[in-house]
Symmetry: C3
Subunit: 313 residues, 3 copies
């Protein structure tokens, strides 16, 4: 343990719980782990420690990312991959009781749950650190951290960038969390979405209040022309009230190879994945396509969080 | 290995398979592990050994408890968390063939299965130790062992105690197994249940024959007044023949903070969990509430069993 | 690492990808591991390495076999046991994107998928070795390798044997892969199946072209009389066009103790398991019954493959 680890014993429920300095510490620790993994498949800082992954809705990507991170640190994993059907939840067990149970079995808990606030409830119950892996339309703080890591890793800095967010900015918790996190740096944010899927007004007001420059537009090519980073999210049909409205937007916010080539040369394309068709597969081969690297970076960031909350660094 | 381990290579199918001395050895080993885990996150006695957890009905708590125990001993786990749908059971594989398969993949097997007798069938097939994690309305021996451990840990002894069991004493395999185990000690057993959910007469006769004092009552407050330990189980609606009968009892056998305060000062409240509403949440904060500690103790007891049947102690 | 490992970094998609010399190397490595496991529960060659098992259709046996193999080598496992429902597949993620994701989380991937060609698609996407654990009616190369290992282990050689395959030879990918593999040795193959479930003509032509002697018959006892090895597969009702046709064959190709006793004394009985009723349980006690040993051998063969593709030997 060292005095530069501000996260010992902490829960990671919301990106807003972390100061800029704390986020900085996570990103630096992640970078350190990435470097060390070039020489060894594992860094055995968490030997004998146990992570519980508890997923009330499926998210293979997030679950495997955390489990891989734990194993890369030499730790063990116990898992409830489909907590809705297979756990005591079916017998009416409360989040509180679940937390009191899990603290007996694991040293740290990662939970995905469909209800906003469920991560906070678990954190209050459990005597071990809880990391929120998504709670409904609420928060997904580790996604925001790995997004920041990706931007810095790809652009060399987090300062002074123009970040375009496009797609469904209303429901996407990843863009909400990332936007809040970016407020710690001097960022220009361009929000490019159908009006029906615009980022909520109170969040935009909050971001502006935090010092971000925020611009809204429906014009994708104008937005792309200025972008250092483009963060694409999926537009899901079920988010629209009518099929007609969905059909109007379907295919409009699709990033093609041509569109990327028309943007700034070093533009970085990100996506929280899974991707459906909002990024053409011909973009994959461009050096700008960072979304698969982004998944890999996520392991380093989650290693940093696990090692830090468990006081192993 | 030492000569004090009577369980090397043994199956743990029924609490009745274990003598008082063998139960004593398990409890002592569990206590030893609990002490050692204060100084280290893991005791690497089972490095390189593999546990298979095979659950034909969900029991997240029991599964995670065993898996945590195995990891705390440095072992590995392979798991079929939802054996009904995901295993060869769907193709009609017999318990026998399953046992012959699992012995090739694991050094010890933990099985939960809805059919009474299935644990014995597996134990007869498999050439490695089998631990029964519940077989229908049959046995759940490791629960009985952790219940004994909890009583001794909380009260300092197992001798001369008055234990109240309340709730559904007809179907609850946990109370059946625990009652049988308590027959090794001088215990007074007070059974507090609706008549329709009373403990089976032949079991009561067996317990009395073993030397236990057994008293039956429907009066909760009279029972509580004498209790050193109160073991609460859930009353499930589906156990009653009519809704009317269920409604008569629902809410009658509910342990409240007031009821606990009216009992003996050091009374220990236990529950196999998950709890629904048969213990008010305001009891949780009382020092008497042992049910969450009980879950933690379960890990030490299961560590003891795994290490002992595998001959690692 | 040594220069005798021809599989470093390789994908194992089809048995046809492997030369006779490469198959020889796998079998020798497996035998070496079997020997070493007599003295230790684990051979820690893959410490810090991560295997991802991704199963889009259930196959508990194959999944557990691979996971056991990985643990026996000291490695860790992350798993999607029911990929159909629990993964991003439900959100329309492609095999390509899945591969790009998994390469970030694991050092080697084992996939079972119902679609022919899916293993090749994953192997082309992922930057880490992919092992095909069955793709529809396509290939199941590790089953073929463990079948070869079983034959050699039980008979002392792979040369000059008469192998009878009986049951459903039309759909069974295990017999297809094994037959192709046997073409590397001087084998006489007797195919014993209902006409409707005969081995495809083009495959038979291929095998003959490779130098195998192939004989087709519907007469089980004639076939058994010549057999050094009998490989039994299950006849599934859903493979027949009418119930009447199924009823005609059901019970015909059933191997009984009497039939085994009438065959050559050292005849080896194999089955890919799970077995339903095509081998009577009274055969289990005969020394000829190799099918449960076959499951155990599978762990050694999969250890060999994992260690070899990861360059650990």
């Amino acid at each position: 343990m060292n005095s530069n680890n501000p996260l010992i014993g902490r829960d990671i429920v919301s990106i807003s719980d972390l100061s800029g300095a704390e986020i900085r510490a996570v990103l630096d620790q992640a970078r350190h782990f990435e470097q060390r993994l070039k020489d060894a498949p594992m860094i055995p800082l968490l030997n004998g420690r146990i992570l519980a992954t508890v997923f009330y809705e499926p998210s293979t990507r997030t679950r495997l990312s955390f489990e891989s991170a734990m194993h890369r640190l030499g730790g063990a994993v116990i898992s409830v991959a489909e907590a809705k059907t297979s756990s005591s939840a079916a017998k009416g067990e409360s989040i509180y009781d679940s937390g009191r149970m899990l603290e007996s079995y694991a040293d740290v808990i990662v939970q995905r749950h469909p209800a906003v606030g469920s991560a906070r409830a678990l954190a209050e119950a459990a005597g071990v650190p809880v990391i929120n892996a998504g709670d409904g339309t609420g928060e997904h703080p580790t996604q925001a951290l790995l997004d920041l890591y990706t931007i810095e890793r790809e652009k060399g800095t987090l300062d002074g960038l123009t970040v375009v967010m496009m797609g469904d900015l209303k429901h996407g918790r990843t863009v909400h969390s990332l936007a809040k996190a970016l407020a710690h740096w001097k960022t220009k944010l361009i929000l490019c979405a159908p009006r029906a899927l615009a980022m909520p007004g109170d969040l935009i007001a909050y971001l502006r209040n935090q010092g971000l420059i925020v611009i809204e537009t429906e014009n994708m090519s104008a937005a792309l022309a200025q972008a250092d980073v483009v963060y694409v999210t999926r537009i899901q049909q079920e988010r629209f009230e009518t099929v007609e409205e969905y059909m109007r937007y379907k295919g409009v916010y699709v990033l093609t190879e041509q569109a990327v080539r028309a943007a700034k040369p070093g533009v970085v394309i990100m996506h929280p994945l899974p991707r459906v068709d909002e990024i053409s597969t011909d973009v994959d081969a461009l050096p700008n396509a960072a979304y698969f690297r982004q998944a890999r970076y996520g392991v380093f960031v989650r290693m940093a969080l696990l090692a830090m909350v468990l006081g192993a660094v």
